[in-house]
Subunit: 434 residues, 2 copies
């Protein structure tokens, strides 16, 4: 089957990331989608220094892409309500499918856009418009489709969460952190959309419509920013066992739907209260599933591109009615499964926690350390405990750097052979999970 | 369009939950799927006291369902490798789509089952087989389809996580907690599958195949249980800044794929280290998206049913090639959006944190409490701080129960009108997010 041609409109942060992900993972993506996906044309006012465009055609006229008969899917990554809206509406009018990351456009003009798309029988996909790389729209719209959704609550603006995290962790004032966020590029020169909750309200409007099956109603969302929060309130909340987060909350009640963005105290033992820095997380509570949570990077070039490209693949699947083009059972087309072997555990490399029960004699620690170092195993830390009363043995706790299991087996056998050691060495693997 | 007929094989915990969710949410599900979904027949050895089956036909012969020409989708909720495998293979042979929650069956016989399904052009969906209600298969297979997946790591056995949580929180011994888990019904009479990591290895095998595009290879998974973990190790790990979790880890390296289930030390500040009790969570790291996390109930009647029914809806969408049967933009069919109103913020009910800057005089607290109580606002706690040096004002912190915003506005106006109060009252909403 010939490759699908994608036209990228806008080559800024997300556009550049989308181009790069499509290029770098082209083979992997084709193995999943069952069909190649190629960038057929790019519209950009200026080139992106992070992209090597090769021979990809570039134009400075977005409508050249929209009207290009070779292009199957138009990817709108311009942002804003102006040209972006014209691009999307014209692409639909031309019978092209659309993928967009534009939360403002969807929240404000989505009803009109979706009506036009239905009339033309084309798809408009917008996973990247909410919470960047987290596939929250897919989870809510498909994964939880069995549920009556009770509520959705999310940290859906990374800039705001970065500011609140710094205020709490370092006792810094709002203005101080905002200035740093602007210097780091997390916050725009005009931070209003982020800190006043408008960006979060755009995203919440979209989530609420999907959760409750209501039209998009951004103008009815209540928004309250974080500009008036003081470190005093952050500290008092902490003393009461709470964290303050800038939350978007949509809840269904008998009277109606709540749609609100505001600073919120959350009990500190909730997972979402511990989502820090620029990260995003969305909780969804359904009548069957209970509470679920989705966490990840809410912005940035490649996390957002991850969602844009997933949408492109979804659209590609609808371009044919061939059953072979359904989502494959194991994600990859059955004829392109990999024969990459599963490693025996001896070939697995991890860090280790070791507990050695040693006689309380001088020199034991040195002997253990020597056995490890002779096998090239680096020790990250050693903790020697008090002797235990009942047997006089001294527990020695070691954390090692990463090492092949095979080498660790050998080292443990040598340690257990020492006269100074009682019983088997306890070992537990360590994972950093960054 | 006439309703799709589903046949449920097995009416135990998950079967009963699936029946109940399909009944209770029938209208909501039809609004999403664009088509009714009805239970056409049930095969059960005994009735489930939690289900009111009404006039739904029941048989004790599962093959009566599998061979019923009225049934479009066979839902296998029997479990195990025996009859379940025959049911699934016969349903496929009969040209029926299959939905299953059976991790053991998929992990061990999935390659054969998927081949048969491809040959017949039918779907086999199995979201419920991993992590209950968390839509992790959909997230990994579709939501992250743009990524080269680097690793997957998950707490995917609730019984094991309950035991480890109790060992840490209460310093209890493994055997002691296991006995309680069995009494509570979290653990089977024969707990081997749970505590030895076999159940987790089934699920990890499925996740790894979807992540890396390799055939299912359960026999190559390394499994190590939690039966030898001591509270001493739990405590030492804690002293080093780690938590111990029973983790399934699948990682792609140049040499091969790691596939392993074992107790694991995780730094305590990672979100997944704070997933406690019977809850499940899966982390997925992709080259574009970075690290993401998915959290929710990994077992139980309705959480698992949530995934089963989502799969049924996915299958229903493939039964027609009508573009109107695609996933709707806003999750619900455009002609069945709800006119449930968005509430003005004055009609929203939440709990509140209030900070009142009061003169350091006797009786102020009583006046504030009276204003609140006169308006039916219950106070959960009051914290009176030390006077601040520069202005002699005393910050008074109150947490209230839930109240309408309108009433709170009225109360705050009254408080601000007191002579004893300086400046505006700070208010921040409180959400429990259970």
């Amino acid at each position: 089957m010939k490759p699908v041609k994608v036209g990228i409109c806008g080559l800024g942060t997300v556009g550049g990331g989308t181009f790069n992900v499509l290029q770098r993972n082209a083979a992997e993506i084709a193995r999943r989608a069952g069909r190649g996906i190629e960038v057929g044309q790019i519209a950009a006012r200026q080139l992106n220094p992070n992209c090597d465009l090769g021979s990809t055609p570039v134009t400075d006229d977005v409508f050249a892409v929209v009207n290009n008969p070779e292009i199957d899917i138009v990817v709108e990554l311009i942002g804003g309500y102006g040209v972006a809206r014209e691009v999307v509406m014209q692409a639909i009018a031309n019978g092209k499918h659309v993928v967009t990351a534009n939360k403002a456009l969807i929240a404000v003009h989505g009803n009109e856009i979706f009506q036009a798309a239905r009339d033309k029988g084309v798809m408009v996909a917008f996973e990247a418009s909410v919470a960047g790389g987290i596939p929250i729209i897919k989870a809510l719209r498909e994964g939880l489709a069995a549920n009556q959704i009770n509520w959705v609550a999310g940290i859906i603006n990374g800039t705001g969460n970065f500011i609140l995290t710094e205020m709490r962790d370092k006792g810094r004032a709002f203005e101080d952190v905002l200035a740093e966020a602007q210097a780091l590029g997390y916050a725009e020169a005009d931070p209003t959309f982020d800190v006043e909750g408008i960006d979060a309200a755009h995203k919440l409007t979209i989530l609420a419509s999907i959760a409750f099956g209501i039209p998009l109603q951004f103008d009815k969302a209540y928004t309250e920013g974080i500009t008036k929060l003081t470190t005093a309130d952050v500290n008092y909340a902490e003393a009461l066992g709470y964290r303050i987060k800038h939350l978007g909350v949509a809840r269904r009640t008998d009277a109606g739907v709540e749609l609100r963005v505001h600073p919120t105290l959350i009990p500190e033992d909730r997972l979402i209260a511990n989502v820090n820095g620029v990260m995003n997380a969305v909780m969804v509570n359904g009548d069957a599933v209970g509470s679920t949570l989705y966490y990840g990077a809410g912005a940035g070039a490649e996390p957002t591109a991850s969602a844009v490209v997933a949408d492109i693949i979804d659209v590609v699947r609808t371009l044919t009615t061939d059953p072979n083009n359904r989502v494959p059972h194991l994600a990859f087309q059955a004829d392109s499964l990999s024969d990459h072997p599963v490693l025996p555990v001896e070939e697995v490399e991890t860090a280790y926690y070791l507990r050695v029960q040693a006689q309380d004699r001088p020199g034991v620690l040195a002997k253990v350390a020597t056995i490890l170092s002779e096998r090239g195993i680096n020790i990250e830390s050693i903790m020697q405990m008090e002797a235990e009363e009942h047997d006089g043995l001294v527990p020695m706790i070691l954390l090692t750097h990463e090492v092949l299991e095979r080498q660790m087996n050998d080292a443990i056998a040598a340690i257990e052979a020492l006269d100074d050691i009682a019983g088997p060495v306890t070992r537990i693997r360590v994972e950093q999970l960054n």
